[in-house]
Symmetry: C2
Subunit: 219 residues, 2 copies
């Protein structure tokens, strides 16, 4: 069966919301992320349920079915592979690629994405450290921690970000925080949970809890 652009965007967002929790997803939370009104979301959920891509009961929320999930994963795979292409081959910065990938992820071709995958040498992660689902929809669980969870005086490696927004990524770049950086937590302020970090023996930098929460690290 064929998927429209609108349907693909809904499935992708429902996937993101399902990831966190075992609960069913609320209409309002979807409305927020799609920038649509709740009434429009209800309409679409009924269509998606009709097509067998979500399970949905009035007032009780929604979840992806196996098929719905595999559609979402194939779009995420395309999004992330295109982001790798834009950064690795065309020389974009990591904060510039998300919007373009939002368009490219909807290009429909059986062969294209696999040829692209091969051209890029089968990358396992995208420019933001997010794992790239395989053709079969396997997505490795990387088990990263949020930097905000790291204990005082521990050292870790920056593996990814939990947010794609350009302003956030530009801030990280300005602070010299890029994928692979070695970070030592030298101070945690209990008052506002802000953090001081040493990046590879340089003099410490200061980041808010909001920032630390969106940085993914490996111990």
């Amino acid at each position: 069966m064929t998927t429209s652009l609108a349907e693909e965007n809904y499935l992708k967002i429902i996937y993101r919301l399902c990831e966190g929790t075992k609960e069913d997803i609320s209409t309002n939370s979807i409305a927020e992320l799609t920038n649509n009104k709740a009434a429009s979301v209800t309409d679409m959920l009924q269509k998606l349920a009709e097509k067998g891509w979500v399970t949905y009961q009035k007032y009780q929320g929604v979840r992806l079915t196996k098929i719905g999930e595999s559609i979402a994963l194939s779009i995420i795979r395309k999004h992330r592979l295109w982001e790798v292409f834009l950064v690795e081959k065309l020389g974009y910065n990591w904060d510039e690629v998300h919007e373009i990938a939002e368009q490219l992820e909807h290009i429909e071709s059986e062969t294209l994405i696999n040829k692209l995958d091969s051209f890029l040498d089968f990358p396992k992660i995208d420019p933001h450290g997010d794992p790239i689902p395989s053709q079969e929809g396997e997505i490795p669980e990387l088990g990263y921690l949020h930097l905000s969870e790291v204990k005082l005086n521990e050292t870790c490696t920056l593996m990814g970000v939990a947010k794609d927004s350009a302003v956030f990524l530009q801030l990280l770049t300005k602070l010299n925080l890029s994928l692979g950086a070695r970070l030592e937590v030298v101070e945690i302020n209990t008052f506002d949970r802000s953090v001081s970090l040493k990046i590879a023996e340089e003099k410490p930098i200061f980041i808010s809890y909001e920032v630390a929460k969106n940085i993914l690290v490996k111990i």
Copy 2:
């Protein structure tokens, strides 16, 4: 001003029809190429005229304005650059890329297409020998002939094709006719205008007028 996918496809087709002739373009000819009904075309022509991209008078046909033409050329530029990418970088054959490029040509980004252009080393022609418009909308007039116009015993070089259809391109491939091939016209049958060709001293092959008409050559 912003262009929808449907509008872009109409402008591209009107451009193609304008290219040939100085006459205004008929509603029916557009309907045929867009695979829409004439009534739908009339609707769209009124919208395009409203936006200033075509000049249009009821019953009198349509032409692109300067702005309309520059939009069409920017889409054609994108289409052809993506075709080069698909063939040169991803290893597609020339008969496999048109449909994918039909989708990619609508990706909207100021920077993307110029970075792609640079990544591809500023190609001047696409995999079918068609010229790639510059960023400014300049399109070199290549002055090629149709193979059907070449005189008996003359030798020429295959520079391009006048048709993108997969079956046509596959036929050429099967006949060993590819870009750059040296062709000698060794026989022209006046009855059906079919042609016999020597490709680089090999034994002659036979092609119909229909095929010869869609092969572009340089003497």
